[in-house]
């Protein structure tokens, strides 16, 4: 039996009278790539924030890489990393300075070598001296990925990782993640609105609506269950509350 990298039980989060996440339970097997999908306001960002320990749940439990995330998050944090459009790296620091700071925070040995390696792999070598605030959106995304990969995480949480990349670069980044996962056995949890990306990268999909998981399975399972050709259609069915029977009619 594959060990779960993420194990979530009865997770809820309320902000006053608003229940943003309602009794979420799921497992993400170690070494898999899982997509967390849902429309705006479905509860994805709230869920990811709780998985990262940025947000305390109202109730329920989260085990990340075998540790209780609420009580012992500092045991896990060195082993995970994330990339999100909701946060930036300091604009005034150069790309290299940012990576040096985070390299020290994550306690990376041979930091110079690691930065040079990531810069080469993510095509950042020419950008290392430039201030992070003066990069294009695509360049910023690649720098954010370099920061997310500095510590070679066992668990990587990616929120819209290719949103601002051109199709060629986005395709290259997806391939890079797949290669990274094959090499390291890392687990990836991905929130994305790009259904092609989900079909290509993910072994498992969790579909959220109104703070709940309303369906889950592999992309192939979902396509056949909803009788659809593409994940985009499946997404629309679920987001608009239609089940396979209704969709077929």
């Amino acid at each position: 039996m594959t060990e779960a990298a993420l194990d979530v039980r009865d997770l809820t989060k309320s902000f006053g009278p608003v229940q943003a996440v309602r009794g979420l339970s799921f497992s993400v097997p170690a070494g898999s790539t899982t997509a967390l999908l849902g429309g705006n306001g479905a509860g994805k960002t709230t869920t990811i924030s709780m998985l990262l320990g940025l947000l305390l749940p109202s109730s329920g439990s989260i085990r990340v890489l075998g540790e209780d995330m609420v009580r012992h998050r500092h045991r896990v944090l060195p082993r995970l990393n994330f990339s999100s459009p909701y946060v930036d790296l300091p604009h005034r620091l150069s790309v290299r300075e940012n990576l040096v700071v985070y390299g020290h925070l994550y306690g990376i040995r041979n930091l110079k070598q690691r930065i040079a390696q990531l810069a080469e792999e993510l095509d950042l070598t020419d950008l290392l001296k430039r201030p992070a605030g003066k990069l294009s959106a695509g360049q910023k995304t690649r720098v954010a990925l370099a920061k997310a990969l500095l510590n070679e995480p066992d668990l990587l949480l990616l929120d819209e990782p290719t949103a601002s990349l051109d199709p060629d670069t986005a395709d290259w980044v997806r391939g890079w993640f797949q290669a990274y996962q094959q090499r390291t056995g890392a687990t990836i949890l991905l929130a994305s609105h790009n259904m092609t990306e989900v079909e290509r990268m993910c072994d498992n999909v969790l579909m959220m609506r109104a703070g709940e998981i309303v369906d889950q399975g592999s992309p192939q399972d979902l396509l056949s269950r909803y009788g659809r050709e593409t994940m985009e259609d499946v997404f629309l069915d679920i987001a608009r509350s239609r089940r396979k029977d209704e969709a077929v009619q």
Partner: protein
């Protein structure tokens, strides 16, 4: 499976000086890359010192009190700036993380809140020293006043006022974390509210009787009274130093607890990921 990255062992547990160093380095990079910021840090204390130097020269010929200890106003203005810069050095470093929307990255990194507090204090010491050293040195040729002749008492005054600045800076940072960048003006407002009560330029006995107990509850009042005692030749007052240290321990401890508590509240309310005005 192959792994290429190796971690330092201390990353996995406990307090890490390396992580404190990382956060200090982040702010040093900002200062190193911006000479206008460096100039500005030294500019205001220097302007203050120049102005109070002229006031001292004027009063030296018109006031017996100032004539007895010509450096009393200059020492006061320089030491007041220790407290003021100590507060700004800490709170501005914290707000820098919010302005750059970097708090989320830091909160998900292995950096612990306690390590962040120590890093902010270190940055405050650095910024205060950079800001005040040029003014203190310039006072020597301009007004023939050398604050360093105070000797060891200067270290005691500097240390205590810096710690008071840290306590105020941590309280301000906690408020900014809780209420957003709209509360950033507290960094200037709160410390100036303490100035009239701290007896910077005048003895505490000048204040109305009912206000004096409030003034004595501030560590800065004990420091400035102690400074005047040394400058007027009455010797170093250990009792005042003890009071200042005890009050500072109380306020810094309370401010640290407040900051860590608000950090916990921020995790409950989801304030760390998307912080702004």
């Amino acid at each position: 499976m192959t792994r290429q990255v190796r971690h330092h062992a201390s990353t996995w547990s406990g307090f890490s000086p390396r992580r404190v160093y990382a956060l200090v380095l982040r702010h040093v990079f900002v200062l190193r890359g911006s000479w206008p910021r460096l100039v500005e840090m030294a500019y205001w204390p220097t302007v203050q010192m120049v102005m109070w130097g002229f006031i001292t020269q004027f009063f030296a010929g018109h006031s017996d009190w100032v004539a007895q200890a010509a450096g009393v106003l200059l020492a006061a203005v320089l030491l007041w700036d220790v407290m003021f810069r100590g507060n700004l050095g800490l709170s501005l470093s914290f707000m820098e993380e919010m302005w750059s929307r970097n708090l989320g990255h830091l909160a998900v990194s292995p950096l612990r809140p306690g390590e962040m507090v120590v890093a902010l204090m270190t940055m405050s010491l650095l910024r205060t020293t950079i800001g005040l050293l040029p003014a203190a040195l310039l006072a020597i040729p301009l007004y023939h006043y050398n604050i360093f002749t105070l000797g060891l008492p200067l270290v005691a005054f500097f240390g205590n006022l810096l710690v008071t600045g840290w306590a105020v800076g941590l309280a301000v940072s906690a408020m900014v974390l809780r209420f957003g960048l709209g509360a950033e003006s507290l960094a200037w407002a709160l410390i100036f509210a303490l100035a009239p009560l701290s007896g910077i330029y005048y003895p505490i006995e000048v204040l109305p009787h009912w206000l004096q107990p409030v003034a004595w509850a501030l560590p800065a009042s004990h420091v400035f009274e102690g400074m005047r005692s040394v400058l007027f030749g009455h010797g170093f007052r250990w009792d005042l130093l003890f009071n200042a240290v005890a009050l500072n321990a109380l306020y810094l401890g309370s401010a640290t607890i407040l900051f860590l508590w608000v950090h916990h509240i921020a995790r409950k309310r989801g304030l760390l990921l998307n912080m702004g005005e």
